[in-house]
């Protein structure tokens, strides 16, 4: 809000000052290019004197507070801005789009201003300042106000009896003079308070515009003026200055886009002020947060990160060193900047309660990683053209039940989907383990972020997702012994020239790649089946529920009505995704019911609540005369309702009901949260393999369109059926 107001103010000021802004995005590499440009600076600062002499062709624009300068540059209201280096140091993190360029403006000395008739006070101050500047306290004080202003306090002067120093301050220059908790504080105020204490005087702060400071002081209304005031001849005519307490270098800021800056990122440190993409729930996510000053974008899959990188939405991404070679094959336009960042051990996830299984597994793994099977699997799964397959064991030997494995198949070569099956180093390892303990293996695939809750709730016995062993995770699940280390790689775009294929050719290729290669259409069809099943059954069940609720609300007693009202309100307020997860992870946590059916139940519950409102309002909209006519003819109230009111109500409800049904179909796209493989998730899986955004999204969209079209057609038919029939009678 404040920033918005500020921007408006800046725009207005610049309009008033009569300077036209230019939208020229020309490249500025050094200071001389400032010539002929619009330069914004603070009104009354020395830059207004220096700039015209150094850059005679530049146009100066003045703003009242220095905080407006970067805003003006950011919003293209000026091409460059001049600010104090000290101030810029403190605020530059808020302006990631701005950068510094060289300039020839000299550093200016900052000092406190005194009235010409107060020579004695000035002498005292200079004496104090000389001592203070040479003490260690000065540096500590400056550092403290800059980085830890909350813990800083001013020197106490309440009990000083030697009179009051009146100080004129502009109070808008963090960290020098600013307002905190309604009080003016800062480095300069601190200096002043120490001085006041040393001469046994109290002080009083009067705040005003920077431009008013000198007139205020010169007129005798105040004794000292300060606010990053630089010493100039002009000012020295009306006031005296203390010795300078600091030299203030000037910084020229411009928009980054106007600076020709090649290959900005060469190390992790260069990611400061850049956007870095990571996959949700991974080690890289944790690690990215520790990279100084960078903005972390969390995405659902690593392929989303690559897509974002190629579209320029992020500047770099962090991925696992293990999966990077495979990703690089799919996504050629990237380069790794640095690898072997932040090594972490990887482990298989176990439910906390199942310690027995964990011990068995640890023993198995110890032997397994020595075998050739393991070694070949490491190499072969890494090859995208591999014909390696998951081992198949006969169920006959599996006498000890089923072992459920939760996998996030988005990280080749560890866990991924090939020809519609979950494969990879980890699933293979677990399948040998399952065989070793005589259990049949059942693989459930889901989102990465769902794995730990899934194992934690006991729905799966083992989870694999290339999981790093972190203390935080160890609180909710147990880890098997580490079977390898994962390091992170920083990846950025290498921007090579794109292929010269035509758009249509590329679209066809992309479609083939996303739909036919590795029989990916099978994934889509599997997802489609589930989406259809969930949609149709939950619409059916939900409609029955909706009718029951509606009848209860219309005809039921007070208790029934109230409780149904509560139910409807609750369901309408509940985000469907939360309801879905609550149903799955809490309500049905310990039941063996399939996730697909949990989804159907959750959606039916919602749909029932929504449609009951539709039915109720349709029925209530029917003239009560219809009811009276039925009763007066001798129909019982129940027969009146079903014979006369309901048919009219359904007719009115159907168009809205159709709408709601369409909404439900679209809402089913969230079932991926509880590991149901629907069409959205199919699209996600394909994207995670092909690293393309366009084709999978379009394919999924088309299939949703078809499903909704089908449902609309069916309901349209019902709508026609519900229209009254005009019976034909021959006149006699």
């Amino acid at each position: 809000m404040e920033k918005k107001l500020l921007q408006i103010a800046v725009c207005l000021m610049i309009l008033i000052s009569g300077c036209t802004s230019t939208d020229k995005e020309s490249i500025m590499t050094n200071d001389t290019d400032l010539n002929g440009r619009t330069v914004v600076m603070q009104n009354g600062s020395l830059y207004g004197i220096f700039t015209p002499s150094i850059y005679p062709d530049s146009k100066c624009v003045y703003v009242d507070t220095h905080t407006d300068i970067p805003v003006a540059v950011e919003k293209n209201k000026a091409e460059a801005g001049l600010v104090s280096a000290l101030v810029w140091e403190d605020i530059k993190t808020y302006y990631p789009d701005l950068t510094e360029i060289d300039n020839q403006i000299p550093a200016t000395p900052l000092a406190f201003g005194f009235r010409k008739d107060e020579k004695e006070l000035r002498e005292k101050f200079n004496h104090f300042l000389n001592q203070f500047l040479n003490s260690d306290e000065f540096d500590n004080m400056v550092h403290g106000w800059r980085y830890n202003s909350d813990s800083m306090e001013l020197a106490k002067t309440e009990n000083c009896t030697g009179g009051v120093l009146r100080c004129a301050v502009s109070a808008d220059m963090f960290p020098y003079d600013f307002i905190k908790d309604g009080k003016v504080v800062g480095i300069e105020v601190d200096i002043l308070s120490r001085f006041a204490q040393s001469v046994n005087m109290d002080y009083e702060i009067i705040t005003m515009n920077f431009a008013s400071l000198i007139p205020h002081l010169a007129s005798g209304k105040s004794d000292i003026a300060f606010s990053m005031m630089s010493i100039s001849e002009e000012r020295a005519k009306s006031i005296d200055f203390s010795s300078p307490w600091i030299m203030e270098p000037c910084v020229c800021i411009v928009k980054k886009s106007t600076v020709n800056n090649k290959s900005e990122i060469t190390s992790l440190e260069d990611m400061a002020n850049h956007k870095i993409g990571v996959m949700s729930g991974t080690l890289q996510e944790i690690y990215a947060h520790s990279v100084k000053d960078c903005k972390v974008k969390i995405m659902e899959s690593i392929s989303d990160c690559y897509i974002a990188l190629s579209k320029g939405k992020i500047d770099g991404l962090l991925t696992s060193s293990i999966s990077f070679p495979a990703e690089k094959r799919n996504f050629t336009d990237v380069i790794s900047i640095c690898d072997t960042l932040s090594p972490y051990p990887l482990g298989v996830i176990f439910n906390k309660k199942n310690v027995d299984l964990l011990e068995k597994y640890n023993a198995f793994q110890k032997e397994y990683i020595k075998t050739d099977i393991y070694k070949t699997s490491l190499e072969e799964w890494n090859d995208p053209e591999t014909d390696r397959e998951m081992p198949v064991f006969s169920d006959d030997d599996m006498n000890y039940g089923t072992l459920v494995l939760a996998v996030a198949p988005v990280l080749p070569p560890y866990d991924f989907i090939k020809d519609g099956k979950v494969v990879g180093i980890e699933p293979e390892m677990i399948s040998y383990f399952a065989k070793s303990i005589g259990m049949r293996l059942e693989i459930v695939d889901m989102n990465f972020s769902a794995i730990i809750p899934y194992v934690n709730s006991g729905k799966a016995d083992i989870g694999t997702c290339c999981a790093c062993i972190t203390p935080e995770r160890m609180e909710s699940v147990n880890f098997a012994n580490s079977w390898g280390d994962e390091t992170s790689v920083l990846v950025t775009s290498s921007n090579p020239i794109k292929g010269k294929k035509s758009i249509i050719e590329r679209a066809i290729n992309s479609f083939k790649k996303n739909f036919f290669v590795e029989q990916r259409y099978k994934l889509i069809l599997k997802g489609l089946t589930n989406t259809l099943t969930i949609s149709f059954i939950s619409i059916l069940l939900g409609t029955i529920l909706g009718i029951l609720i509606c009848l209860g609300q219309l005809k039921g007693g007070v208790v029934l009505r109230k409780s149904f009202n509560l139910y409807v309100t609750f369901m309408r307020c509940m985000p469907q995704v939360l309801l879905l997860m609550i149903m799955y992870y809490l309500v049905f946590a310990n039941s063996s019911i399939q996730a697909l059916w949990v989804a159907i139940i959750a959606f039916a519950l919602c749909f029932g609540a929504y449609t009951s409102v539709i039915f109720k309002s349709s029925i209530e909209s029917i003239d009560k005369g219809q009811n009276e006519a039925g009763l007066a003819m001798g129909f019982s109230p129940i027969r009146t309702f079903f014979l006369l009111i309901l048919p009219q109500g359904i007719r009115r409800a159907l168009p809205v009901f159709t709408n709601e049904s369409i909404g439900l179909v679209k809402a089913t796209s969230i079932v991926g949260y509880i590991s149901v493989f629907d069409i959205t998730r199919a699209g996600d899986i394909i994207r995670s393999r092909t690293y393309e955004a366009f084709a999978p999204l379009i394919i999924v969209t088309i299939f949703y369109f078809l499903v909704i079209w089908l449902i609309t057609l069916i309901l349209k038919y019902a709508e026609q059926k519900s229209q009254p029939v005009r019976r034909k009678y021959s006149k006699r």
Partner: protein, 378 residues
């Protein structure tokens, strides 16, 4: 057939029916009249329990319908009701509206029900619109179908709750004709109505409902020509007035005539009656301004203009016409200017009599119009 004993009905604090006692005999045709808001409709709706009485008893064919134990649906099959707002079943065609009751409630076969429905529709003149839906019918047509639907249940008694109140004047007569025909068949009826002429002509008994009771009851002759009690007399003799002021010759002639016509239509005047009234208004106003020198217009403007009063008594079916002009005009029937006596002869021709007099500084021309032989109910 129906005994109503000490019936009261209260909505919150307002007592609509205080103590209603009545006996309805088989074959009775009872019109319930009275001022608005006196509970005429409430009384009717209590009889088939669409409203639950606060206290009292209603006994129909020996069954107390106010008793919660009695099967009200069974009784309602024998007590038909016609509503002011028709309440046809909107999702059923005309014939299905007539067939649903007999089939679902009387167990009639579809063929029999259809035969009977067509017979009833021909009685009410709706055979043409058998296949139509209610939304495709005019108000009068809907009400005729609604009456046929009520009859389709073969009721012992028919309650008609202001059957013509929602209709335009033209449709009123078609519906009233249908009701009159049905009344001739000897069915018992109770009709809440504002159509006094109809009540007078069709009923054998009139209930005048006022003050929450049946204030006066009697034959149509007694109630309409010799009411015994004061409130009944006031109600019967009340008149409906139309007033209009003309300040000078530049008045809105078309506006005046259209307002007169609207007034006439509202009280169900026939076309020829409306024509006569309009002629009288036009000619008398014309006579006021008619002069050779033109100074009559000045007199009218300076002395306060002309006032018109049309006073219609529904019960007596009489229309009195008054026009008041400034005294300085000396006469409205202006023989000097109206050389050929055209206006005068028109007025004389269409009125029973007219009289000019001077009353409190104004000339009053009184013209008696009607009653008419043309009334359809005589």
């Amino acid at each position: 057939m129906i005994h109503i004993e000490h019936l009261t009905k209260r909505y919150g604090n307002s007592e609509i029916l205080k103590d209603v006692n009545a006996v309805v005999n088989k074959g009775d045709i009872i019109s319930i009249i009275g001022p608005s808001g006196t509970g005429k409709s409430t009384l009717l709706r209590c009889i088939n329990m669409l409203e639950h009485p606060t206290s009292g008893k209603i006994i129909i064919n020996g069954v107390d319908v106010t008793d919660p134990k009695s099967n009200i649906s069974m009784i309602r099959k024998k007590v038909g009701m016609v509503f002011q707002s028709y309440n046809l079943f909107d999702h059923l065609s005309v014939i299905d509206n007539l067939m649903i009751g007999p089939i679902k409630l009387l167990g009639m076969s579809a063929a029999d029900a259809e035969k009977r429905a067509l017979l009833l529709l021909s009685q009410v003149g709706m055979l043409e619109r058998v296949e139509a839906f209610p939304s495709e019918l005019s108000g009068g047509q809907k009400q005729r179908v609604a009456i046929a639907r009520t009859l389709s249940m073969n009721p012992d008694i028919v309650l008609l709750d202001e059957p013509t109140s929602a209709l335009d004047p033209h449709s009123v007569s078609e519906v009233l004709s249908v009701i009159r025909d049905i009344a001739k068949n000897g069915i018992t009826m109770m009709i809440v109505t504002h159509e006094m002429k109809f009540a007078k002509n069709v009923s054998n008994r009139i209930f005048y409902l006022d003050q929450g009771v049946i204030y006066e009851e009697g034959s149509p002759e007694q109630i309409f020509y010799n009411p015994q009690k004061e409130l009944t007399r006031n109600f019967i003799n009340r008149t409906h007035n139309f007033e209009y002021h003309i300040s000078d010759h530049s008045f809105d002639n078309y506006g005046l005539i259209s307002k007169v016509i609207a007034f006439c239509i509202h009280y169900g005047f026939k076309g020829s009656q409306i024509d006569r009234i309009c002629h009288i208004v036009e000619e008398t106003v014309n006579l006021c301004f008619l002069s050779e020198s033109g100074n009559r217009n000045d007199i009218i403007r300076t002395d306060g203009g002309i006032d018109i009063l049309i006073s219609y008594s529904e019960e007596r079916d009489l229309t009195d016409y008054y026009i008041y002009a400034p005294e300085r005009l000396e006469t409205i029937i202006n023989n000097d200017a109206d050389k050929e006596r055209l206006s005068k002869s028109i007025i004389g021709g269409i009125s029973q009599n007219y009289k000019e007099s001077v009353q409190s500084g104004k000339i009053e021309l009184y013209i008696k119009v009607g009653p008419y032989d043309a009334s359809p109910y005589h």
